[in-house]
Each structure stands twice: as structure tokens, then as C-alpha cells.
Symmetry: C2
Subunit: 324 residues, 2 copies
DNA sequence: CTGAAAGCGCTAACAA
DNA sequence: TTGTTAGCGCTTTCAG
């Protein structure tokens, strides 16, 4: 930068101001500086800038598993929103492990990230206080609140009731649930919603028909297997997400069980592939792109100075296909 | 850091050396420093460190589309390999657009990234010279070479021959191809391989049976439609990747075409969902996890000083399922 | 074995 | 409208 300054016959401060536009510069000097920049092929060093300003251009997206298409799409959406504003997105998969989640939070303050978008799974509810204390904008995408942080969360009440009614309409009475891990922070809202609205649809959820596991294909396969070996099988299974539903399908196939003939299956998220598996997966759609858009917007608002935290609900919709 | 130094009654240089271990420190001072670090909750500022050393801890992964499960898995694999070594992975989707690809390369030198792993699509063959000039390690994951850069590339000859033989064995003679974009850098090696080995399997690839498009579901759907409206339909279609194959399935379904009854379909990559669509997709497996592992390894070798560039071939395997 | 001090490249007071 | 300068937090040479 001092090279540029010298070449343009000005001080390095002026070069800085030409670049940032933070104070007026005569057309003349601007021209000279820009010409020198061009000629020398100069470009700002973002690292030095970060050190000086204490702010980086890095936004971390922390999710349980980037290989889950829901999060992959979320990542693309957030990236698309933020790139134009000059931010870079760092993606991290935690494997839904608490130590990893905590590690990333620490990393975020250490690296002075410009912001963090996270789907936490096992974090303590006050875990985001450290970000808040460090003045790092954060937004959480989750079913439950994590304290005083921006939250984008599904509004899935109606969708769940519709799903349940739909299941009931096919004559099923006993529904099982493949829930998330037992030790997830904030419990298991997706499971609780099913419990809450089952009765009004004339459905029952027996305790032995509730299994827990990670949100992975393998865990879905296992969970479904346990459900199918219950003394009395559930006639329909609500899955924590589409990936576990796919796992359930793996098992159903292995066991020679017909879906939906023998058991109905309902997923959650509506990833792209939900319509491609056979039978096509009936599911509750949670729009990853919109979630990403909203999260990015909330983050930018914070970066621009908003301090009071907001919660935005994104509507989930019931999508009837062929697995019920 | 100077706080720690003061608290421990040493100089900040000593604190630095305790942390880096780059020169001997008496057990005594080490203890004092570590105690002070602990007590003050100090942690190194990576930004300052980067500025001073000129090296960052950021590795960029640049792919056409992170929402493509192949790249998502690649991302996780690379991240898993690199995290333990202290690097962070920045993921960027370019949409396979040349300007985006170039923008990221520029960004990489500007930000002094520790390394770049990229799957370029429309870059000029010499585009990586700028990284080389800037001393930034790079590895390309692609079918074709991009000049003097480390390359991890599929060894798919055998798999393609097997696939073609398999298609021929079902009595098909005319095979079509849904290839990549016409203006992709390095042409379309996957298409060329099919052309090259078709004859030896007794198959023919008519010019009107070759269509081009992006590697997306939509493009796959369109391409397949064009193929199906040819005067004489191909009896089998080789797809650029599994995502385009899925798009082809969309169209087949809409057109009421049976797969493999009316047309056979062969994909490429073997993403997780290939075995879940119906019919299960016959495909050429290119192992994303291993590709990621190899790419990470090559990158680390470069970071550790290797300068001569290497090429590693990763074997692709033919996977027979139900779409042929 | 340890300390002093320069300097990475930038921004933002403060002065002019 | 422009320049001077301090300093962000670290690493590393040079002395001791």
C-alpha cells in the first residue's frame, strides 16, 4: 500500500481513504491512486485490515452435517445471500457433537468472525453468551430457543396436525416416532409436537413406539428396526427428518415390509431426494433456501447494528406423497 | 499476550515461544506462563499471527455446487482431514461459472489462503499460475489436468468399459450421452470415454444422441427429453453424473417411460441416494471420501514444502443396480 | 535460556 | 482536502 502511495505521490492514508471512501478525496488524487493501484496490481490485505479493525469478513456456518442435503442447501442459500455483501462463508460439520459445537464457538470469538449461523444440537442454552460478550452476531436455526440469540425456527404446528390427520384418514391408529438423540439440547420438539397433536387426530403414541437416535440414515435404519420388533408394531412412523426416513426405508426393504402397505412413513424437511425415493416420501417441508435467506438477513441486521434479538418463524408445510 | 507476559513476569517473546515451542524454555518459566494463560483465559489471535507470518489457517474448497451430495461429502471429508491439522475450510459454490471461479482464485491470493482445493469447470488451463506465483498450494479435483497443479483424477477406464459391456449384454445397441456443458474447460472426458469404448462393446453413439448441459437435475431432465424426442431413440443413456440421471428419471416418469424397460440409465459418482431412487441407479462410483482424503493429503504435502506437482488417480468402480 | 524491539499492512485519530 | 503517526497482536532477529 505504501508502494501505491509513493507511486501516486500521496500518503498511504489517502490510498486507504480512496479505497474505503470514508472521507472525500479530490477527483485528481483519486485518479492518480487508482491508476497506481491498477499499474501495480495492488490489492488490500484483508488480514491486516482485520487485525486493525478487529472485524473479519468471515461468517461461520456451523451445522451437524454438511452432507445432509438440507444443510447443504442451507449453506448455498446463506452463501448466495452473503457473498454479494462481501462476506465469506466457512462451513463446519460438528457431527452434532457437543465438544465440536463448543470448539467452533470458541474459534468464532478467537478468529473474531463477522458472524455465526448455527444449528446447535447439544449446546447449553447459554452457550451463545460468549459470542454476545464478544460482540459477535449470531443466529441460531433450530426448533428451540438458545437464549438471547436471533432464532429462525419452523412454524410446523399446522403441518404436523395435517400430517397426523392424513395418517389417521388411512385408518392407522398407532403411530411410532423416530426421534432425535435423547440428550439433545432443548429436548425433541418434533417428537413433542407429534405427541401433542396425536390425540386430536384420534392417534395414539405408545411409549414403546418412541425411539431415539442421531439424525442419520444408519440411526434411522436402526430405529425403524427396533420399532418393527415391538410386540405390537406401530402402523405409521413419524421420522425426525428425511434422512432417518430413508434409513427406515432401507430397513423396510430388508425386512420385506411394504410402505405404505405395512407401515406408513412421514419424513421431515423435504430434501430434493424425498420425491425420488420409492415410494415417494410424504413429509413436512421446511424450506432450506428460505431459512438461509432469513438467517442471512438477521445476521446482516445485527452486523448493521441491531442489538435486540429477534425470532422469525418460517412456515413448514405438509407434503402428501406416497409413503402414507 | 503482553498481559500474560506481565502476569508471568516474562517477556511476550517468551510467551510466544512457550506457545510455539520453537525454542527451549525452562520448565519453571513454562509453568509460570501456562498458569498465567490459564488464569487470564488468554488465546492467541490468529489474525495477528497471520499478518505476521503471511500464512493463514484457511483452506478454500471451491466446487460447482455444494448442494450436490458428491461435493457435500467431499467437503466433509476434506474438512475432517484438515481440521486436526488446524486448518479451517471455506466452502464456495461457483455454480460452475467462470467468473465465479476466477473470483475465488483472486480471493485466494488476496486472503493469502493456506491452500485451495478446487473442481474447476470453465477455468483456463493456466488459471492456477497465479496461485503458483503467490506460493499458494492448490490441488485440483477434476477429470482433466489444469497445468502444473496437483491433480486428483478418476481412473475410470475399466469402470466405463464394464458399464458399456453391461449395457450391451442387455441387448442394447444405441447409446446416448447426457454430457456436461459444451464450453467446459478440458472438454468432456466422461463423454469421450464413452465414445472411446463404445465400439469394443459393440455399441454405437450417434451424434444426435449426444446432448450437453450443466450437471444439474434440471439440465438432466431437459437433456433426456431431447434424447427421447430423437427420430430414433437411444436404448441406453449414460449420464454425466447421478444428479443428471435423477433429472432423466424425472422426465422418464413424466413421459411414462419405463426404466430400464424402455431405456437404460447409467449415472456417475454413486451418491448416497443412487441406491434409494427407483429403479436403483446403476452407476460408476467415484468415492468422494477418498477423493477428499487424497486431496487433503496432497495439499498438506505442499504446505510442508513439496514443490514438484503430483497426480493421483482414484479408481472408479462400476456398480450394477437396476436401471440397466 | 531470555529480552528488546522491529515490523507485517492496514485504519483512524489528530493535525494541518 | 491531505498527511503523520500510533498501534492492532503477534513472530523473530539480534543481543545479552
Amino acid at each position: 500500500m505504501s508502494d501505491v502511495a509513493q507511486a501516486a505521490g500521496v500518503s498511504s492514508a489517502t490510498v486507504s481513504y480512496v479505497l474505503s471512501g470514508k472521507r472525500p478525496v479530490t477527483e485528481e488524487t483519486r485518479q492518480a491512486v487508482e491508476e497506481a493501484i491498477e499499474r501495480l496490481g495492488f490489492s488490500l490485505n484483508p488480514v491486516a485490515r482485520s487485525l486493525r479493525t478487529g472485524k473479519s469478513t468471515l461468517v461461520a456456518l456451523v451445522v451437524p452435517d454438511i452432507a445432509n442435503p438440507f444443510y447443504a442447501l442451507l449453506a448455498r442459500s446463506i452463501q448466495d445471500e452473503l457473498r454479494g455483501r462481501g462476506y465469506h462463508v466457512l462451513v463446519s460439520s460438528t457431527g452434532a457433537r457437543r465438544d465440536e459445537e463448543e470448539a467452533f464457538l470458541r474459534e468464532a470469538v478467537q478468529q473474531r468472525f463477522a458472524g455465526v449461523v448455527m444449528t446447535p444440537f447439544r449446546l447449553a442454552t447459554d452457550a451463545f453468551d460468549v459470542l454476545r460478550a464478544a460482540g459477535i452476531p449470531a443466529v441460531v436455526s433450530a426448533d428451540v430457543s438458545f437464549g438471547e440469540v436471533d432464532l429462525v425456527t419452523p412454524d410446523a404446528e399446522t403441518a404436523v396436525r395435517e400430517a397426523l390427520a392424513h395418517v389417521a384418514a388411512t385408518g392407522r391408529r398407532h403411530v411410532g416416532v423416530i426421534g432425535g438423540p435423547r440428550d439433545a439440547a432443548g429436548g425433541d420438539p418434533r417428537l413433542e409436537r407429534v405427541r401433542k397433536y396425536a390425540a386430536e387426530a384420534g392417534l395414539s403414541v405408545a411409549e414403546e413406539h418412541v425411539v431415539h437416535g442421531e439424525h442419520t440414515r444408519e440411526a434411522g435404519a436402526e430405529g425403524f428396526e427396533r420399532l418393527m420388533s415391538a410386540r405390537r408394531r406401530p402402523e405409521a412412523v413419524m421420522c425426525g427428518n428425511d434422512i432417518t426416513a430413508v434409513g427406515a426405508m432401507d430397513t423396510a426393504e430388508r425386512l420385506g415390509l411394504d410402505i405404505p402397505g405395512d407401515v406408513s412413513l412421514v419424513g421431515h424437511d423435504d430434501i430434493d431426494f424425498a420425491s425420488l425415493v420409492r415410494p415417494r416420501l410424504t413429509t413436512i417441508r421446511y424450506p432450506a433456501r428460505e431459512v438461509g435467506r432469513v438467517a442471512a438477513e438477521l445476521l446482516l441486521e445485527q452486523i448493521d447494528g441491531r442489538t435486540r434479538h429477534r425470532t422469525v418463524r418460517v412456515t413448514a408445510d405438509f407434503v402428501a406423497r406416497a409413503s402414507v
